[in-house]
């Protein structure tokens, strides 16, 4: 990237700049014509010059020029018009000129805007492109938020400036020069005075602005650092809370803001001081004109007409001059910003663009072993983590690397994964240097996995397939509308120097995943998920998801049917009382009183949460049956029980977990409420108190809370009220609730709830786990399993994959690597979060899967523990950055370091 902004703009927009200059020049013609026209209208038709006599006419629009070689050429002979016709004609010409000027202005502004936006797009892209090509070590020094703030905010003003970069000085400079020239023509001395003042302005003001530029640079740097710090606070919030350092962070931010304020205020003061001096110099000129010009006139050396003409001409000078100075300030401002940003992105050892060039072809297998030749790797402090290692890994060979923490195995793996670059020595594939190999080869034929793989915001499936998306392999089918849009996208991208790869194309390399297309990709996915023991987690995610019958019609129907199968299975296993199903005319003892009354899932605002107690229709149904009085009694007893049980316990006591119908903070309130309501009849209590008491009864589940408040009679009454509630429901409320219906799918409930269609008994030990296991086994039947799994795959991982647990993330990270077909797999302690048993199982599965893939790739696995070495053909032992053992598992027993590691 060039260092000078002007040069950069000129290089990329040369043609457009020249064109716009030409257009601006052309626009001057109608602009000046329209200045002259009013005079013609007033003098001609209005005041009647040249129309002396009744029928006098004049020629209108005669276009004739004396041309060299051709003599007088008449392009248009003109028409003879009388005075009124002339007035109309000239006025119309005036209107036409106004329109022409307007159109010119519109064209020029739009053109300049487009020019600027394209350049902005180009700069932004170039910056991000550079980030993608930074050498790995660079990322230890930069903060993501600072880079983001540079790409997003700091280059933004460049776009606005681009359009004016060359046009404005040409135009304004021309105007100012014309005015100065005119003054000079009127009177040389006065002209020179004006010239000197302009020169002073041109010298002094930019000098004063130098300080402004320094301040501007500081402002930019401090603001960028602030962005970096804010993002650090967001990323490190856990650590901040853990160590009670929030006030340190507050102090830091406050002090930074103080500095930014100081800089900005300084900037503000200087800016207005400069403005003041500028204005003063501009107004001093007329003062000199009056004084000196007046003196000269009194002396008789200057006639008054000239003086007036000079002063009139001077009116046109400060305007363009001021704009010119403003332009210059803008120029210096964006120049500073540009230089600042470019410096940050000017990095040594940038990866050659050719290495990252997009490749649509399947890359051929690597033609040789992976070798390290006299390889030395150092960390940031210069300490060597791996010293003078020469080793070769052949395809088809499974190699384990063991050693203590930071013994050298990780460094070797990182170097093989191109995460760090060697300090000396080389890594080669066959005869080619690994770092000179295009990424389309190294990034596809070698798969590197560590434990800290990053997950992008999106679904689980997107992240799983991430390692397959190297190029837009299949162009999407566009209809005519979209075709036009796509065409526009391509041409614009090219105009701004951006690549025109289609993000909406199909980027998935199915062959690399061992599939032929989207249809059979699923088998590969299911296999790797099984391999890393993640399938069950994903099925559980699916169970907790909701689907709409509209988008998953067949599955929804299947799940409704599955509900009966589950009942059948439970009966068969003698567990029929594990789940109590919802039945329209029976009270469900394992569900809350509220659920039994509503008998449906509330989806509208009217019936959700506290609003239900204020819903007139619902309240009417309840009180019509006298239920309000009963529920009030019930709520009152629940409150009494809760107060008796929990009074005196501190609010953070673990027992409060069991108190489902109120929070520890509610307890004192209910304590007071009970005292107030003691001995009062139902009719004497206020609406609010009733509401607060009855609310408690809604969450009551007899087998769970066991206060003995539900009688058969009450249950029958509730079922009756439920029937009335649904039968008489007004049309306006029908959308607010989805009724439990055994024959249809409830879209607002999770898949698990739909399969259960009831509540799990509280009395059965481990009831929920057992039921879930049963449901999962039912959903694992062919035909339905794929659909359920793909619903789980739609789960959104959140920022950085944080909605998954660490163990799930590590499994997924390994899964997406195993999905790819490579010649070499480098695993750098990929599963530290898993317990030893699971680690062993996943490692075993992974090696088996890789073996099955046929081509038998090479595997280099840095192990966390020594127990798994017997799974590998060859074991390397590292200690202190040096290779201290290399051999088969069986021969290791003699190795001193190995014995130490095992013990």
């Amino acid at each position: 990237m060039e260092k000078g902004l002007a040069h950069y703009i000129w290089t990329h927009t040369r043609k457009q700049q020249l064109w716009i200059l030409l257009v601006v020049a052309a626009s001057m013609i109608p602009y000046f014509l329209s200045f002259d026209l009013p005079k013609q209208i007033v003098n001609g038709p209005i005041q009647g010059h040249g129309f002396e006599g009744e029928a006098a006419t004049q020629t209108f629009m005669r276009i004739a020029y004396d041309l060299p070689f051709f003599g007088n050429v008449v392009f248009f002979p003109g028409v003879e018009l009388n005075r009124l016709q002339m007035l109309v004609g000239l006025s119309l010409v005036f209107l036409a000129l106004v329109v022409v000027n307007g159109v010119f202005k519109l064209y020029i502004n739009t053109y300049k805007g487009r020019l600027g936006e394209r350049l902005l797009r180009r700069i932004r892209f170039e910056l991000v492109d550079r980030v993608l090509r930074f050498p790995p070590a660079q990322f230890k020094r930069v903060k993501g938020a600072e880079i983001a703030s540079m790409v997003k905010d700091e280059v933004e003003p460049l776009g606005g400036f681009t359009g004016d970069a060359f046009v404005a000085p040409a135009l304004l400079g021309g105007q100012a020069a014309t005015a100065l020239f005119f003054i000079l023509v009127q009177n040389v001395w006065l002209g020179m005075i004006a010239g000197i003042i302009v020169a002073v302005q041109a010298v002094v003001i930019p000098r004063m602005r130098r300080r402004l530029l320094i301040l501007g640079r500081e402002r930019q740097l401090t603001a960028r650092e602030l962005a970096g710090r804010v993002s650090e606070i967001v990323d490190g919030i856990g650590t901040i809370h853990a160590f009670d350092t929030s006030n340190l962070e507050r102090a830091d931010i406050a002090s930074r803001l103080g500095r930014i304020f100081k800089i900005r205020y300084d900037l503000y003061q200087w800016k207005f001081l400069v403005k003041f001096i500028n204005n003063f110099l501009a107004s001093v000129t007329p003062f000199l004109f009056y004084l000196i010009g007046g003196y000269l006139a009194l002396q008789g050396r200057l006639d008054i007409g000239q003086l007036v003409a000079v002063i009139a001409a001077y009116k046109d000078l400060p305007g363009p001059l001021k704009e010119l100075i403003d332009w210059d300030q803008a120029r210096q401002d964006v120049q500073v910003k540009f230089t600042q940003v470019v410096e940050q992105f000017k990095v040594d050892h940038l990866i050659d663009p050719a290495i990252q060039a997009v490749s649509f072809e399947a890359t051929a297998p690597l033609d040789g072993p992976l070798s390290a030749i006299n390889l030395t790797v150092a960390d940031d402090s210069g300490a060597r983590t791996l010293e003078h290692l020469s080793i070769q890994f052949a395809r088809g060979e499974f190699t384990a690397i063991i050693g203590g923490a930071a013994a050298g195995g990780e460094a070797l793996a990182e170097a093989l994964g191109r995460i760090v670059w060697p300090e000396s020595g080389r890594l080669t594939v066959g005869k080619t240097d690994l770092l000179e190999l295009p990424e389309s080869v190294a990034g596809r034929r070698i798969t590197y996995v560590s434990s800290d793989g990053y997950f992008f915001f999106g679904s689980l499936c997107d992240n799983l397939l991430y390692g397959l998306k190297h190029a837009p392999l299949r162009v999407p089918e566009y209809d005519d509308d979209h075709k036009a849009t796509r065409k526009w996208e391509i041409s614009e991208a090219r105009a701004a120097g951006n690549p025109d790869l289609d993000i909406h194309g199909d980027w998935i390399d199915y062959e690399a995943a061992g599939a032929t297309g989207p249809d059979d990709l699923f088998a590969s996915i299911a296999a790797v998920l099984d391999c890393v023991c993640l399938t069950r987690d994903i099925l559980e995610l699916a169970l907790r998801s909701t689907i709409t019958p509209r988008s998953h019609g067949a599955l929804a129907a299947h799940i409704v049917a599955l509900c009966h199968t589950l009942r059948h299975e439970l009966d068969k296993a003698g567990l029929s009382n594990l789940v109590v199903p919802f039945e329209p005319d029976r009270y469900n003892i394992e569900a809350t009183v509220g659920e039994n009354l509503l008998f449906g899932t509330a989806i509208g605002e009217e019936l959700t949460g506290p609003a239900i107690g204020r819903n007139p229709y619902f309240v009417d149904v309840v009180s019509r049956n006298g239920l309000d009085r009963i529920l009030y009694r019930m709520g009152y007893e629940i409150a009494e029980n809760a107060v008796e049980l929990f009074a005196g316990l501190p609010p953070d006591h673990p027992f409060f977990q069991q108190l489902t119908f109120m929070t520890p903070d509610d307890l004192p309130y209910y304590q007071k409420l009970l005292q107030r309501l003691k001995g009062k009849d139902f009719s004497e209590t206020t609406e609010d108190d009733k509401h607060d008491i009855i609310r408690l009864s809604f969450a009551y589940i007899e087998p769970r809370h066991r206060f003995g408040l539900l009688t058969d009679q009450l249950m029958a009454k509730i079922v009756d009220a439920r029937r009335q509630f649904h039968e008489g429901m007004p049309d306006t409320m029908k959308g607010a609730i989805e009724r439990y219906d055994p024959d249809s799918y409830t879209a607002s409930a999770s898949i698990l709830d739909n399969v259960l269609f009831g509540r799990v008994s509280h009395r059965q030990a481990d009831g929920p786990e057992r039921v879930r296991a049963m449901v999962i086994s039912l959903l694992s039947e062919p035909g339905i399993y794929d659909q359920v799994l793909s619903i789980g795959l739609d789960f959104n991982l959140g920022a950085g994959g944080r909605r998954l647990t660490q163990v799930q993330r590590q499994k997924l990270n390994l899964a997406r690597a195993l999905l790819r077909r490579s010649d070499f797999y480098v695993f750098n302690r990929p599963l530290p979060g898993l317990d030893a048993r699971l680690q062993e199982q996943v490692c075993r599965n992974a090696l088996e899967l890789l073996q099955e893939k046929g081509q038998r790739p090479g595997v280099v696995w840095v192990l966390s523990n020594t127990t798994l070495t017997d799974l590998f053909d060859r074991v390397l032992i590292f200690d202190n950055g040096k290779l201290v053992g290399d051999g088969k598992h069986a021969d290791l027993a003699d190795n001193a370091t190995f014995r130490e590691l095992v013990s």
Binding site: L645, R706, A765
Partner: protein
């Protein structure tokens, strides 16, 4: 069964005999009431201990895995507590416990159980007594076994 009946049953458990009934009610309320059929497992040897069980009705077998197969080492009667060792010492379950009859139990989670001990010293003392009792019995058994083993000499 209602909360107040459970409180009556808990009072019959020696461990809780000295505890104030309102506290027992709280304990009953915050614990899960679970039922097991014959042969169902309360917990397995080697699992991490997450709860203790107070057997309200029924009997349970204590089984230990040995290389030679499962051996029944004891039977637990109603009104006794089982599974508290794994919670107290943070070790995995030392034995498998299965229901020998239809069984009703109160499942007290680890967190609640520990809280109970710190809040109510009378329960702690009772637990210590039960454990000491078991230890002395085990010591007697062990010395008997040793004596028997030495006899052939």
């Amino acid at each position: 069964m209602l909360l107040k009946d459970e409180v009556q049953m808990l009072r019959r458990v020696p461990l809780f005999a000295g505890v104030d009934p309102t506290k027992l009610k709280l304990l009953a309320f915050t614990s899960d009431r679970v039922t097991y059929g014959i042969g169902e497992t309360l917990f397995r040897q080697g699992d991490t201990g997450d709860a203790a069980y107070v057997i309200l009705t029924g009997k349970a077998d204590v089984l230990v895995e040995t290389p030679g197969g499962q051996i029944k080492v004891a039977q637990i009667e109603d009104n006794s507590i089982v599974g508290e060792i794994a919670i107290l010492c943070d070790v995995s379950r030392t034995a498998t416990v299965k229901a020998a009859t239809n069984l009703e139990a109160l499942r007290i989670s680890k967190e609640h159980f520990l809280k109970l001990l710190t809040d109510f010293p009378e329960i702690t003392i009772e637990i210590v007594r039960v454990l000491a009792d078991r230890l002395s019995r085990t010591t007697i058994d062990l010395s008997d076994e040793r004596a028997r083993a030495r006899k052939p000499d």
